[in-house]
């Protein structure tokens, strides 16, 4: 058992994901308390160069053809081997499509505690998790003996996990990976569309509060009047009311408009993480406790079904 903090680095098609840098930043907070090192775990094929700007004291690199792309089973087996051998104090995973596919099975297999959705590390290694769509925070101690943690974005900036100095990289042997029951067939590129919402300066975003497909037209009319583009949070796209190309959030686009008008969006963490780059967020939501008001610059609890048509009308009058 040692006091080191390990970080399971995530990368997708040759690029280290921001969550990896965020995890490294959080790992430094933990390591400061435990007195251990920050060690990045990098899995891939000929992927050493991805270690280049990781802000870590050391990188353990596992190289294997079956680790070229993310494969939950190959990642689990490899990481189980590493954790079992090194016995670090904690291992951080992203609360992502990659991290959560990996960590739960490792926790069950090794009988290790798991704390999920951690946003910040506070004094004395108190872990602060964000649950219930961002409405509730929970504080836990760093569990013994080896704490598995999934991290959500928001508490640290990716830049804090980047370094101009390359960390030392140690190649480590990979477990036998034959007999995998999961195989990646191919990647399917995102559908292309008439607009790229990640580049639009004025976004009119609709969420669950819009209630039904017919009401989408309220947002479209407003967008047309002011010269913006309509986008949506997950529930709206899942209902098929708008195409996936308009999805803002974890599985969709990350946006950074000048103005993001959130209509009937509660502000679940999966959505919020994709809009924090906006210059100004304005929120319309009848629930005054909606987390969206915590990141918005302006907000109103007026009913969107009254407010949006009124706003459209006023803008039309101004523009003539």
């Amino acid at each position: 058992m040692n006091q080191d903090i390990f970080v399971a680095v995530e990368h997708l098609r040759g690029k280290v994901s921001d969550i990896s840098y965020i995890m490294l930043a959080a790992a430094h907070d933990l390591a400061q308390n435990t007195g251990g090192k920050v060690v990045a775990l990098l899995l891939g094929l000929n992927a050493q160069q991805l270690a280049g700007n990781l802000n870590a004291d050391q990188v353990l690199y596992a190289d294997h053809s079956l680790l070229t792309d993310f494969n939950p089973e190959a990642y689990q087996r490899t990481l189980i081997g590493i954790i079992d051998e090194y016995k670090p104090r904690a291992v951080l995973f992203g609360h992502t499509s990659i991290g959560t596919d990996t960590v739960g099975c490792i926790s069950a297999q090794l009988g290790l505690p798991l704390v999920s959705s951690v946003r910040t590390i506070e004094a004395n290694n108190k872990l602060i998790s964000q649950i219930c769509g961002g409405k509730i925070m929970a504080e836990c101690n760093l569990p013994e003996p080896i704490a598995l943690i999934t991290l959500v974005p928001g508490g640290y900036k990716p830049e804090q996990g980047q370094s101009t100095q390359s960390p030392p990289v140690t190649a480590i042997p990979v477990q036998v990976l034959d007999g995998l029951r999961i195989l990646l067939n191919k990647y399917i590129e995102p559908e292309t569309s008439d607009v790229d919402i990640s580049k639009e300066p004025l976004l009119i975003a609709v969420g669950r509060g819009i209630q039904n497909q017919d009401n989408i037209s309220l947002a479209e009319e407003l967008a047309q009047a002011i010269g913006g583009v309509v986008c949506a949070s997950r529930p709206v796209v899942d209902q098929g009311w708008l195409p996936t190309s308009r999805l803002v959030g974890k599985s969709g686009s990350t946006v950074k408009p000048k103005v993001y008008l959130a209509i009937g969006i509660s502000g679940a963490p999966e959505h919020v993480e994709a809009i924090t780059g906006s210059d100004v967020i304005i929120a319309i939501n009848t629930d005054s406790a909606a987390p969206i008001f915590n990141i918005a610059k302006y907000g109103t609890t007026a009913d969107l079904f009254d407010l949006v048509p009124a706003l459209t009308e006023k803008i039309k009058n101004i523009k003539g």
């Binding site: 798991l114 649950i131 409405k135 929970a138 990646l184 103005v259 109103t300």
Partner: protein, 254 residues
């Protein structure tokens, strides 16, 4: 093809949440519980597979208030078998404990495919799917938004950030964490649900003692501090519209 769908009720986030007297848990006295939205998609995906392949779909959930309505609604959508699990969910309702106890029961149901929501908003100790898969020795893939059965395997669409999809093949039996069904969860009329209450029965199974080992102990729960809360505009729609027009002008977008 035997498809098992474990689902759970979670607090409706539209309601106001409050912390109980212990300061370490939600006050459940007034909470309205609804089906975890990802579980709702898991049921839909299972029914879609049933329609394509003739699979049998079993939906199971913890026996807490509201479970009967949840299960009968699933039956109205097409589920063939309904099971509620009895246990002490007040003191040990975390996923470490539930996964251990549920895995044994699910094993007895001889599943070819298990579909469950990829996560729930109140999972503090990770989602339940990967844990159950491990105890059953099955492969697990999550963030799934499309499933096709092809002989002894499934072809799935796994979501990555930015709209990228990874098409994976997974040998059966397997457990999939569903992010979204191929089509939105279908609506069923209340009359159909009532009809199910008359014609369908809910089986009951007892969970073994719940063992929470490995689950985090919560020191305290709190509502996030709102230090940088939005400047609130008028609650009146007309006034708020005028204020927004001025803000848009200031920001140079109008």
């Amino acid at each position: 093809m035997n498809i098992i769908v474990p689902v759970k009720l979670v607090p409706d986030l539209v309601e106001e949440l409050s912390i109980d007297a212990s300061g370490t848990a939600l006050d459940t006295a007034w909470l309205r519980m609804i089906i975890n939205e990802f579980d709702d998609h898991a049921i839909e995906q299972a029914i879609l597979l049933k329609e394509k392949t003739g699979a049998q779909v079993t939906v199971l959930s913890m026996n807490i208030e509201g479970v009967d309505d949840l299960l009968f609604a699933a039956a109205a959508r097409g589920a063939d078998r309904l099971i509620k699990l009895n246990g002490d969910f007040v003191n040990a309702s975390n996923n470490h404990a539930l996964a251990r106890a549920m895995a044994t029961l699910i094993q007895d149901l001889k599943p070819d495919l298990i579909l469950t929501g990829v996560q729930a908003h109140n999972d503090l100790d990770g989602s339940i799917g990967p844990r159950i898969s491990n105890y059953l020795g099955m492969p697990y893939v999550g963030y799934i938004s499309g499933v096709n059965i092809s002989d002894d395997k499934v072809i799935v669409r796994k979501e990555y950030p930015g709209g990228l999809i990874g098409e994976m093949q997974v040998s059966l039996p397997a457990l999939l964490g569903i992010q979204a069904a191929e089509q939105p969860p279908r609506y069923v009329a209340i009359s159909k649900v009532r009809q199910m209450m008359k014609t369908m029965s809910i089986e009951e199974l007892d969970l073994a003692t719940l063992d929470s080992m490995g689950a985090p102990v919560v020191n305290r729960m709190f509502q996030p501090e709102t230090t940088e809360r939005a400047t609130m505009l008028s609650e009146n729609a007309e006034d708020a519209a005028n204020q927004l027009v001025n803000i848009f002008k200031e920001l140079g977008v109008l």
